[in-house]
């Protein structure tokens, strides 16, 4: 049995250009005939020559035409649970000034969407009710339920909370994370100044943010978690970042700067062996967001205004 692996390099240049290349992984290569080998090799070489694809990603305000594409992205937001996704997408579309959609040139469907929703102002909507119920249900221990209740649900103070909704397709390039975060958090700031009515300006004066995102834990961590949730949590915070695999690069920095967070296992079966999919809920202050964005920027180039 011959094992052959072929890796092709991904060249990252700047935010506008993206080189997509294929990674060939022929692990169990059980071929009886030599001809097959040669064919495979030839194909590989051909692709190596044509390896790079130039694409540009364009950012837009959400429009009605994005409805179906966004619905596809946001359908799994609550981990497969049924909720008023149409209501959420509707809201994102109506809230034009704060919220962005990324489309590839010449394509109609968005590949990424980011928006923020003021939790207090829209708490009567069906979709927010569904999201809140889901988070309440999924908080693993009483401690987390308390944290949720204290900071999010029963907060009667003047501070406003924004739920950051950020979803993208699975293979989205990492370079998009910085501009996407710039897009949303800058728009929030601009909205507090530019919105026509005082009510709208106040809506976006958010001091705290709630994020719901996807992470992977390696198998060993899962075993530890099984022994006791508190123990698992301590282990998580003590453990190096290497134990948690963040699907979105900015989540790593948000997690470092957040006030508190908790995770719960995802319903979906894990696609990667050895990694268990979890969903992470994070609570982060505005200042924490700024610090996290600075760190993110160092990695992906400077997009922040100096």
């Amino acid at each position: 049995m011959k094992e052959r692996e072929r890796d092709e390099n991904e060249n990252e240049e700047n935010e506008e250009e993206e080189s997509a290349s294929e990674v060939f992984d022929s692990d169990d290569f059980d071929s009886d005939s030599d001809d097959d080998d040669e064919e495979e090799e030839e194909k590989g070489e051909e692709d190596e020559e044509e390896g790079e694809v130039q694409t540009s990603f364009e950012f837009f305000d959400p429009t009605e035409g994005d409805f179906l594409g966004m619905k596809g992205l946001l359908n799994g937001y609550l981990d497969g649970e049924v909720y008023d996704c149409s209501g959420l997408v509707d809201h994102v579309i109506k809230q034009k000034t704060v919220g962005s959609v990324v489309r590839l040139e010449e394509q109609l469907d968005p590949i990424a969407v980011v928006s923020v929703i003021n939790l207090q102002k829209h708490q009567d909507t069906q979709f927010l009710g569904d999201i809140v119920t889901f988070l309440r249900k999924k908080a693993p221990t009483d401690k987390e339920k308390e944290m949720l209740a204290k900071d999010v649900f029963e907060r009667k103070g003047k501070e406003k909370i924004g739920l950051v909704v950020s979803e993208r397709v699975v293979n989205c390039p990492m370079e998009l994370s910085s501009p996407l975060n710039q897009a949303i958090f800058d728009e929030i700031e601009w909205a507090t100044e530019d919105e026509p009515t005082q009510e709208r300006r106040d809506e976006f004066k958010m001091d705290n943010f709630l994020l719901l995102s996807r992470v992977y834990f390696s198998e060993e961590d899962k075993v530890a978690k099984g022994k006791g949730k508190k123990k698992g949590k301590r282990q998580k915070t003590e453990a190096a970042a290497g134990d948690i695999v963040y699907v979105r690069p900015e989540d790593e920095y948000f997690h470092k700067e957040c006030d508190w967070s908790f995770t719960f296992p995802a319903n979906r079966a894990e696609n990667t062996p050895g990694l268990v999919q979890h969903r992470m809920v994070m609570w982060i202050k505005k200042e924490g967001v700024k610090r996290a964005r600075k760190e993110l920027d160092k990695l992906f180039g400077d997009f922040l205004p100096t």
Binding site: E64, G80, V82, Y83
Partner: protein, 245 residues
Amino acid sequence: MAVRAQFENSCDIGVFSTLTNSYCLVALGASENFYSVFEAELADHIPVVKTSIAGTRLVGRMCVGNKNGLLLPHTTTDQELMHIRNSLPDEVIVQRVEERLSALGNCIAVNDYVALIHPDLDSATEEIISDVLGVEVFRQTIAGNILVGSYCKFTNQGGIVHPKTTVEDLDELSSLLQVPLVAGTVNRGSDVIGAGLVSNDWSAFTGMDTTSTELAVIESIFKLRSAQPSQIVHDMRSTIIDSMM
């Protein structure tokens, strides 16, 4: 009447159900909501059967049928075949088809008289369609798409096709099918008509996202507003009422 429904979180009704004038097949869902919507509308007139096809819930896209028969892909298991045969009326011929293109619902669009099929379908399958379903078969494309079952939906009363169909194509198809056709969308702008909607001669089900404009178009083209199920299901009896004064 056109009714909005939802299968779990999806508005693609046509993927999870098949509706004809003499029976209805519905996928097994986690909750009973989907099934009960169909039951409420249809149970008085036709059998509503819960099933899977080839172990999947994609009942609408895998099979195709009309009041005369039902065609199932070769991937259907024997138990499923038996279950469906037992649950459907005896007049309906249930047949498993050996066809490479196994998503029959995507490849074939049919009403009780005419069928449009994917241009690459086997001629053997074409014959089976014509025999079992009792229809005239035409190989056609819809707005350049070969998946005719996905991009159009027509009944004995009328039909909706992909929104980008040209007027000439629309006229040609309309004369082939002998029913009025309209180019439209379903589920808030989705052009995959066959996935978003199911209908028969007196009722239609469409996804939750369908706008009221789209629903109005559906109701008017399928002539649902004045439809009387009892008249259509059983043979029309012409009654002459004399009023004697």
